[in-house]
Amino acid sequence: MKITIGHLYPELLNLYGDRGNIQCMKKRLEWRGIDVEVIEYQLEDEINFSDLDIVLLGGGSDREQILVSNKLFSIKDDLKRYVEEDGVLIAVCGGYQLLGDYYQTNNGTIKGLSIVDIYTEQKPGRLINNIIIKNKLFQMPIVGFENHGGRTFFGAKAEPLGKVIYGSGNNGETGDEGVIYKNVIGTYLHGPLLPKNPHLCDFLLKKALTRKYGEGIELAELDDSQEIEANSYIVKRFLKKDINKL
């Protein structure tokens, strides 16, 4: 078995340890004897989405995000088709904002890809903190760090990645964090997202493998004690609660 991961524009979108997400997926596949290829795309490269099983779109500064959004707009239809055909897409911070209808900043509005039913508006102050969210799919919470000036809101059809139990989340008001749509997750969590959340990483890897090789794929179990310890350290420190009592 083999999984191909496409990292979109890491030259521009490379804030907040996004490479850690790639590294985490790569290692967790390799440790299970599954081949992995990571392709880093630059702005001038052509992307054939049918070659890809997982796509990562990371975060960048506002200036870099505008460069990327112009490019993404030109390949919008291909990316949309990939998503509708159940391709796995992980979009973090700036990448997450670009998935929506628009991102209204103080310097104008960046048009989004309209892949998921969300929109983002810049408001005074940045939401910067450790963050803990809970999704009922998993026993273990999802932990990370957020740092964003944009506040993201849902249209009618969007589902959050989790409910905020510590931190701000999408907008600091609704208690939602991130978005799930088909096999797409968008989130403000970095730190990076996946290493301290192996359950979420494996969830996505399984989606990608199932899409490629059909139902019935089981991921071999790994020793995640260090990952779980790192995750529960955050929970204990900020919530002052045991992980099992959530």
């Binding site: 804030l15 590294q23 301290k196």
Partner: protein, 447 residues
Amino acid sequence: MKLRRIAAIWTSKIIGLTCKIAGKQGVTLAGKAAIKIYPDILKELAGDVREKIFVVCGTNGKTTTNNLLCSAIESEGKKVICNRTGSNMLNGVISSFVLSAKLNGKLDADYACIEIDEASAIRIFPHFAPDYMVLTNLFRDQLDRYGEIDITMNFLKKAIKMVPDMKIIVNGDDSLSAYLIMESGNEYITYGISEQYFEEAEDSNEIREGRFCKKCGEKLKYHFYHFGQLGDYECVNCGFKRPDLDFGATNIKAGGQLVFDMDNRNIKANYRGFYNIYNILASYSAAITAGFKLQNFDQILNDYNPQNGRMENFSIGGTNIILNLAKNPIGFNQNISAVMEDEEDKDLIILINDNAQDGIDISWLWDVEFERFYEGSIRSITVSGTRCQDMRLRLKYVDIPSILEQDIEKAIRKCIKNGVGNLYVLVNYTALYNTHNILKKLEREYK
């Protein structure tokens, strides 16, 4: 002499002294008290400096550059004020002046060498206008505090605008710093490493902030890289390129010691770490620009013994220990290079804290090239600090096992007892002072 000024000086001296006795670094507290009592304190004390004021700014290398510069000027027989400990925000800067003042409120100094935090420059320059600024480099650092590097550059730009007569000594190899200064309209002098040293001119994975031209947005073409975005760059679109270097290092050998030529001199320094060439170049070009002759520069370099956790050496119970600060990806990668230059077997302790001064966001750990430790004859790695769990995971994902020991003193003791006698301790900011003190304590204990 105003009474309030004297009161301010006395109060902060007492605070400074109390904190010193209590073993805490009370420098910023002393400054805070002083300016509260007497808002003009910094303005007036800086005005007492008889000749010139230097400020040293930039992400990495500030403390070493500033301390070397101070030593160089002192060796010319001048009295210099210096914030040696690296307390570089407004209150820390105030303290360095106040604590140097005499009890009668007067300051007796020919020069001041002050390192300042990039984002604090706009708060400091209203108090005094420096004659010279050294800008070492701009790298990604503490994203949670500054947001991103563009924001830091804007802060600096605004600060420099306040002092159009300040002459700037800038690292020409850094496209970001050079762009900022060339656009500022201030007079400037450049330094850099003229020639290619590392074989691979090709892009590694190291995050390069300045890979796109700040002037026009085009991708920069590099003739060669040193590290980070430092190197010989050129924009084929708009013509922006590395400026001609006024002070360039050539014929470089880096290993156990640094050997290179600059300004028709041959420099030999017993420092590890290629990046220290920049620190030497920066301090040298600043002092020469200000008119010093530096006849004894070799001697200054030899006498310079860092006491502040920048490649600071300890010998404890037969173990040679090097303590160094590693607080952002580029700094850490340079630390890794310095560790790798030592071919002997070694143990390693990495301490990562996430206190406010460290940056509470530790995602930068994933931008550091830890996989390079694979080839480094490293016998053990111990991880410590509030974020030791994250550090352990970071290493796990490059297949490097590590030992977790949250208590740094225990970690050091274990390495002295069971290690190979050659220990590197790499820590980030808030752990530096404490770790330094623990090592000093152990030094006495083992004597």
